[in-house]
């Protein structure tokens, strides 16, 4: 089970790192990229939890649609958080 433990811990650490970065970053475009990174970390967790159905939807929504939406928002509003 060593791979499972390793992966869980790794993904957990990665997700916290990216969450922190996304929340504290002032450049919103970078924050959107970080939140994509956080979604990728969660994707590993979902795969380890054998939730393939979720993963198929989650990757589409979280890595793709949210990033696209956020980039659209940033492009139409402000890029930097005051």
């Amino acid at each position: 089970m060593i791979l499972v433990y390793l992966t869980l811990l790794f993904a957990g650490l990665l997700s916290t790192l990216f969450t922190y970065l996304a929340v504290t970053e002032k450049d919103l475009l970078k924050a959107a990229a970080y939140s994509a990174g956080q979604s990728i970390a969660y994707s590993i967790l979902f795969q380890v939890f054998a939730a393939t159905d979720i993963l198929l939807a989650y990757i589409a929504i979280s890595v793709g649609v949210y990033s696209g939406l956020l980039i659209f928002i940033v492009s139409k509003t402000e890029r930097f958080e005051v």
Binding site: T16, L17, Y20, D53, L56, A60
Partner: protein, 251 residues
């Protein structure tokens, strides 16, 4: 940078502290068994007495055992698109012109990739009752194709191919109506709404289609894809165009 690093250290130490507290209470262990209800679904979904005739327990729950949830969940997505359109509504579509787009290489590549995406997404949606996947997953995969076209060719390419927001919303409405009708039809035979196997055939020509699951999945596939396409199409109208539409709201 120094402050952020400090914050990061704080966050990780907080996580460690929480983890130690949780570990010390000893109440949290990864379960070796799943809930009785989960086992019930796994056992019944194909072989049991209360079968949905689908080897895919998740899709069986999503569209059959708890089908009502999903019908209303699609309604939530539909309402979100409609609310977005109500906020962004424009009285006319923008005039066609040549968009900015990206490089020639990416255009050529995108054409091939788009065709492959449609095939992959159809496979995901049409095998929803057999393997992981389903209408929503397939539809959101299909939506990559127009989403790629929008930045690479500019959205005028979609408008020129008659993929206007109006058409997409109509398509979405029709697909959702199909979902609603599939849920409604058993009522006319005196059964409950979203009934599956007692009304719809499980096999067609010897091939397993799991009753209404295939119908739901294929309708949802179109609905989700057109919904995403409509959302992003509305988002990509230029700001000047919205400024022209600007007006006052009267009570």
């Amino acid at each position: 940078m120094g402050r952020r690093l400090l914050g990061l250290v704080f966050v990780y130490s907080l996580a460690l502290a929480l983890a130690l507290v949780v570990y010390a209470t000893g109440s949290l262990q990864p379960p070796h068994e799943i809930k009785r209800l989960g086992v019930f679904y796994v056992e019944e979904t194909f072989f049991g007495n209360m079968t949905a005739m689908s080897p895919e327990a998740v899709t069986a729950i999503v569209w059959d055992y708890r089908g009502l949830d999903t019908v209303y969940e699609t309604a939530v997505f539909f309402l979100a698109v409609v609310a977005g359109l109500a906020v962004f509504r424009v009285s006319k579509t923008p005039p066609l012109k040549r968009g900015v787009g990206l490089t020639e290489i990416s255009r050529t590549s995108t054409k091939i990739v788009a065709a492959l995406i449609v095939v992959v997404s159809a496979s995901i949606a049409l095998h929803g009752h057999l393997t992981p996947g389903g209408g929503f997953q397939g539809g959101s995969t299909l939506a990559i194709a127009p989403l790629l076209v929008i930045p690479i060719f500019s959205y005028y390419a979609l408008l020129a191919r008659r993929l206007t927001p109006g058409l997409l919303v109509t398509l979405r409405g029709l697909a959702l109506t199909a979902i609603g009708l599939v849920a409604l039809l058993p009522v006319f035979k005196g059964l409950e709404v979203v009934t599956n196997i007692r009304f719809y055939p499980a096999y067609i020509l010897g091939q397993l289609v799991s009753g209404s699951l295939l119908l739901y999945n294929s309708s949802e596939y179109i609905a989700v894809a057109s919904g995403f396409a409509a959302v992003f199409l509305y988002l990509s109208f230029e700001e000047e165009f919205h400024e022209e539409e600007r007006g006052e709201d009267h009570e």
